[in-house]
């Protein structure tokens, strides 16, 4: 189906150009009274939905410490090779725990694959999107920065159970 007509054929009024300018200005003026589409960012914060993939964090239970058993599946699947896990053993009910769990936030691409393959629901994507550091060492997040109490992550965990 080849289209013959071209919408470009202008009539004499349109060719005169001046009425067109006036029309254009009216359109611009009309836009001044429309609702604003931008956001005043630092004052006004963007509230992400539960599906949002922000900074990956480790889930911390109230009494039992982290859920992670250091199986290393997240570090295996990570396409950007950002995660480093080192396992150790304890006498607790869960016999393994990550002695060292580091995510290099300069490498992380926020794809969420770590969360998707985790067999323990131990690593989830939070809503945190403001990541700033002043040097490269600070960008490597250890367990101290990664552990987040489970209450703060509840809606992401609910989302995972319902939609994944």
């Amino acid at each position: 189906m080849a289209v013959k007509k071209r919408a470009k054929d202008l009539n004499i009024l349109e060719k005169l150009y001046i009425p067109e300018i006036v029309k254009g200005m009216t359109l611009t003026l009309k836009n001044m009274f429309r609702p604003r589409v931008t956001m005043e960012y630092p004052e006004q914060k963007f509230e992400p939905p539960a599906s949002y993939r922000g900074r990956p964090v480790l889930v911390q239970e109230q009494d039992a410490g982290e859920r992670c058993v250091a199986c290393g599946l997240c570090s295996r699947v990570c396409p950007a090779l950002a995660i480093e896990v080192q396992a150790n053993e304890t006498d607790r009910e869960k016999e393994r725990f990550p002695e060292k769990f580091e995510i290099n936030m300069l490498r992380c691409i926020f794809c969420g694959f770590c969360e998707e393959v985790c067999p323990e629901e131990a690593i989830v994507m939070s809503k945190d999107y403001e990541l700033v550091y002043t040097n490269r060492e600070d960008a490597i997040y250890g367990k101290d920065k990664l552990l987040v109490p489970v209450e703060q992550l509840q809606d992401r965990i609910d989302y995972l159970r319902n939609f994944k």
Binding site: M1, V3, A7, K8, Y17, L73, F113
Partner: protein, 418 residues
């Protein structure tokens, strides 16, 4: 393309190529009238890092040679060292104006290779997101094209509409830009009712917004005078050069993979394929604008037909199991570990699968030797092939029209350089 070992040799090749396009030239004539200039790689109008070396006579372009490769990241080679699942985020970074369409194209190739049957709901969701990202991609194309020829307002308005699509993707996939939404055997997460409502609201208001910016450009005399008859790509040349997508349809060839070789459920959907015969920059612009309307028509129909059901195929050896089953069942836990560690191991063989992306035919050619990693991976990227038309259609145009021509070809260098 040959591999260059030094910058000087590379420049010499370009100059040779420039001269080779016009064998009648004498050196005296060249010294008197002509000069060779660089456009790009850091030029705002070349849409990324595209470098053009142009031979000029006054303001007329005698010949032009595009140099690609400034954004080369070796995606074809990288694929050989990662499992099929791990490669999904990399497809986001091919044509970064329409990430979802790339995701869909890639997993469809892998599924064809591994022989995975995808549930109907997942296929409809894929159609919805692919068409939405076609709208987003064309909005960027039309907006930046208008910006190239001096219409700044249209650019702002198209980006405002695109922003709404990004918010929908944020809701569906969890990221505005690098979506990584599809999975081998389905899609990563189901559409919730809120997301469907957002898509409907977007489409309802999009009709008016579309008419508004169309009105701004279609009867704009400056816009039309700058584009009409500029960069004519004849039908035969377009076919011979392997041009696909809106650029081909702007030259009067009615070829769209969605119609020629339907995939997903495009054969059940009613839509038109806009074709224009003129082959100039304005025709290519009109094709994109008409396709925007057609795409929103397709999304409406997909939403009506969206069936209920699972979004991931049930194939334990090839498709990641559901999260809840991993937590509670031993079998699924083992499969999870096996799939992640060793990959999906598709049978020995090769496959080529192509889909109609906003820019044209995006094809993946995968050779498998039976392991979890592809043995050879080739991307047939539409932008790369479409750019081959530049030397032909820039010839004997004014230098300022080259900007308009690049805008009308609409290359995305992430894809062209792979």
């Amino acid at each position: 393309m040959e591999k260059y070992h030094s910058a000087n040799l590379s420049d010499q090749r370009i100059i040779d190529a420039l001269i080779a396009q016009d064998p009648d030239i004498t050196i005296e004539d060249a010294l008197e009238n002509e000069m060779i200039i660089n456009m790009g790689p850091q030029h705002p109008a070349t849409h990324g890092v595209l470098r053009l070396v142009a031979r000029l006579d006054g303001e007329t372009v005698m010949s032009v040679v595009p140099e690609l490769g400034y954004l080369h990241r070796g995606y074809e080679k990288m694929a050989e060292n990662m499992t099929y699942l791990e490669y999904i985020p990399h497809t986001d970074r091919l044509d970064y104006t329409s990430t979802m369409a790339n995701n869909v194209a890639y997993v469809m190739a892998v599924e064809k290779l591994a022989g995975i049957e995808v549930p109907k709901r997942a296929q409809y969701i894929r159609m919805i997101v692919a068409e939405l990202s076609r709208i987003a991609g064309h909005l960027v194309a039309v907006g930046t094209f208008a910006l190239d020829v001096g219409a700044v307002t249209a650019f702002m308005w198209t980006f405002r509409e695109r922003e709404k699509i990004q918010n929908i993707f944020d809701r569906i996939a969890g990221a505005r830009f690098t979506t990584s939404y599809t999975r081998i055997g389905g899609v990563a997460s189901d559409l919730d009712s809120e997301a469907i409502k957002m898509i409907k609201e977007f489409l309802d208001q999009y009709k008016d917004a579309h008419e508004e910016f169309e009105k701004l450009l279609n009867t704009n005399r400056i816009f039309i005078d700058r584009l009409e008859g500029i960069g004519i790509l004849p039908k035969e040349d377009a076919i011979n050069l392997g041009i696909t997508g809106p650029n081909l349809r702007g030259s009067g060839v009615e070829y769209d993979i969605r119609r020629a070789k339907p995939y997903l459920f495009y054969n059940e959907i009613d839509f038109n394929i806009p074709v224009y015969n003129e082959g100039d920059s304005l025709a290519r612009y009109f094709v994109r604008v008409d396709e925007l309307k057609e795409s929103s028509k397709i999304v409406y129909q997909c939403l009506d037909k969206l069936p209920q059901g699972p979004t991931m195929a049930n194939d334990a050896k090839k498709v990641l199991p559901k999260k809840e089953e991993i937590y509670t069942k031993m079998e699924e836990l083992i499969h999870d570990f096996m799939l992640v560690n060793f990959g999906i191991n598709p049978p020995v063989g090769d496959v080529y699968s192509a889909v109609e992306n906003p820019k044209g035919e995006l094809g993946f050619y995968i050779v498998s030797n039976g392991t979890g990693y592809p043995w050879k991976f080739k991307i047939r990227s539409p932008s790369f092939c479409n750019l081959q038309a530049l030397p032909l259609i820039c010839k004997n145009q004014m230098i300022s029209d080259v900007v308009a021509i690049i805008g009308s070809i609409d290359p995305v260098m992430g894809e062209a350089d792979k």
